[in-house]
């Protein structure tokens, strides 16, 4: 027994001596963090790549088109033969129309679903409904676009005879359906994180579940809910395929939702799927439009970040 122990001790010591002598191992330990840092810097490089590309190509665009014409021009005719016009306001109007309709659809339905899931539903119901919402969030946008074009638009045309085949209403509604799960699940997270003691306090005072939900939980979770809506708006602004398929390609600076429109994203798709030659003004214009789009979504994401950081109630 004693002999065996000493033999083991000896072998452990030998092992330690052996392994501490390995220089290779020390080298690996030193190299790994550096290699991993290099890998981690790929995401930083991506951001620099995006911002850099957009700025460089946009600057070239602004050598050919005046900045003021671009920012304040109310007409967008890049394919005109005589005089090309690059005023971005019609594209922004198209984007805002679709986003506005999407918000009108998604916010009431999303928040109502969140209240139902967080305040009323049993665990069992929640376990059934949440995965279905996840499926809805996982449907590729091209499928939604096809659905908007071939189902929602004909359906709406039965109620609104003036509705054109390409319009802002149908893609707007479908974009709303697309961002609905995002609002529902993020808002539900915000509401679920309100502590139960507060709910129980209100219930003990004789409140109904509705009063608890609207007067206690909703105000407490407001920052999270607002942040979820802002993030969803950012997603709606950047949405591309639904509006490309069902929105049309005639940018107009007005607030009519029954006629063909064009959003910033749809313009980029239109130009890149056609053959706008490399180096033409039209080619550079997609970067200027992309840059504008990028700034819009960046602003929205920053806003969501500030709202959820600054106005969060701590318990």
């Amino acid at each position: 027994m004693g002999q065996k122990q000493s033999a083991e001790k000896f072998s452990v010591q030998e092992l330690i001596q052996k392994s501490s002598g390995k220089k290779q191992k020390k080298l690996i330990e030193k190299m790994i963090p550096i290699i991993l840092l290099l890998i981690a810097s790929v995401s930083v490089l991506t951001t620099f790549g995006i911002v850099g590309t957009l700025i460089v190509e946009t600057v070239i665009f602004f050598k050919q088109v005046k900045v003021t014409d671009f920012l304040f021009g109310t007409e967008w005719f890049p394919f005109a033969n005589t005089e090309q016009l690059f005023g971005i306001l019609p594209l922004i109007a198209g984007t805002l129309k679709v986003t506005g309709i999407a918000v009108i659809v998604a916010v009431p339905f999303g928040i109502a679903s969140a209240i139902f899931l967080s305040e009323y539903a049993s665990d069992k119901t929640r376990r059934i409904i949440k995965p279905i919402l996840e499926v809805l969030a996982g449907v590729p946008t091209i499928v939604y676009g096809f659905f908007a074009l071939t189902f929602v638009t004909p359906l709406l045309q039965q109620f609104i005879p003036d509705l054109k085949i390409f319009n802002a209403l149908s893609p707007g509604i479908v974009v709303g359906v697309m961002i609905l799960p995002m609002i529902a699940s993020l808002s539900e997270d915000a509401m679920s994180s309100v502590p139960n003691s507060i709910r129980e306090g209100a219930l003990a005072m004789g409140s109904t579940k509705l009063e608890v939900a609207l007067k206690v939980v909703l105000p407490a979770a407001l920052s999270g809910i607002t942040a979820s809506v802002v993030l969803a708006v950012s997603r709606a602004i950047g949405e591309t395929m639904i509006v490309s398929l069902a929105g049309g390609s005639t940018p107009k600076f007005d607030w009519n939702v029954t006629e063909s429109i064009q959003t910033m994203t749809a313009y980029i798709v239109q130009v890149s799927s056609g053959d706008a030659g490399y180096g033409t003004t039209i080619y550079y214009s997609i970067y200027a439009v992309g840059f504008t789009l990028f700034l819009f979504t960046l602003l929205m994401n920053y806003l969501a970040h500030v709202i959820s950081k600054k106005y969060r109630e701590e318990y």
Partner: protein, 292 residues
């Protein structure tokens, strides 16, 4: 003397309970709305597309004639695309996650990397397409190849994979790491032999879900100029190719009504592709995930 009017209280209480009941129904109906849309969407696509899902549909290339149009090039192309996206995005994503969770100390550089990843997650996919077009297609002269599209898609889903892998690594309890150090293991040995094996189910689940997003993503492919009518299969990573969502986009745009049904059939193939990927993810999550 009564201070409380019993009848009035009962009446008020009943009214509040009724309002509660009504609103409960409204909230439930709103939740059902989403489910209803999903049901209609699936019903439409299945009823329209199932008739076109013939063996020929999988053997034919794209065509101007709806009856002869097939999905072979797009399906094989999407599989090729995944063969680039999966290794590139998982290596980059898991590497970044290990760095951030295990090595990164709290300093400005690492805060910047973290902030940068959350910002990147909010950039619209079409903007990633512009990045891919400029850097991979033009500057690196990869053309509209499998490789260029694969790199673009990898960068697009990178933030999702990083965040998923970070959560999986964070879920490995500290005790296990300390036990490993206690046995004399070095940091890298601990990560490689202790942390990663128990985090892998979580990492893979997140990665497969991110990859299924890449399968259905269309906008970046359009922007980098992936062709839609392709009559050959990719031979290597620098070949031209087309992918499922591109093919569907092309069919959906066509004015002939018959192409609507072809598009539905294409969507069915895409959805089955996604379903298989998601089932694998759920299988891995249920089978291999450990609870501490």
């Amino acid at each position: 003397m009564r201070y409380v009017n019993h009848e009035a209280v009962v009446k008020k209480m009943n009214k509040r309970l009724i309002v509660n009941g009504i609103f409960k129904t409204i909230f439930f109906a709103a939740t059902l709305f989403a489910l209803l849309v999903l049901a209609v969407l699936f019903y439409r696509i299945i009823s329209q597309g199932v008739g076109y899902l013939t063996p020929e549909f999988f053997q034919n290339f794209g065509s101007r004639v709806p009856e002869k149009a097939g999905i072979k090039a797009a399906l094989i192309g999407s599989i090729w695309l995944m063969c680039v996206v999966a290794p590139v995005s998982i290596i980059l994503g898991v590497g970044t996650a290990i760095y951030l969770e295990e090595y990164a100390t709290k300093n400005k550089l690492n805060d910047f990397i973290r902030m940068n990843i959350s910002n990147l997650a909010g950039v619209p996919s079409v903007v990633f397409g512009l990045l891919g077009l400029t850097i991979f297609v033009r500057a690196l002269a990869l053309g509209n190849s499998v490789l260029a599209a694969g790199f673009t898609m990898s960068l697009l889903i990178l933030p999702v994979i990083i965040v998923g892998a970070q959560e999986a690594i964070r879920a490995v309890p500290q005790d296990v790491r300390e036990a490993s150090y206690g046995m004399g293991a070095t940091k890298w040995q601990t990560i490689l032999n202790v942390v990663l094996p128990s985090a892998i189910p979580g990492i893979l689940t997140g990665a497969i879900l991110a990859l299924s997003r890449a399968v259905g993503e269309t906008a970046p492919l359009v922007v980098i100029g992936i062709p839609v009518i392709v009559h050959f299969l990719p031979e290597n990573l620098l070949s031209q190719f087309t992918a499922l969502p591109m093919q569907i986009y092309d069919w959906a745009k066509r004015p002939q009504e018959a192409f609507q049904y072809v598009a539905s059939a294409g969507i069915l193939v895409l959805m089955i592709f996604l379903l298989i990927m998601n089932s694998i993810a759920i299988f891995i999550r249920n089978k291999f995930s450990k609870r501490y």
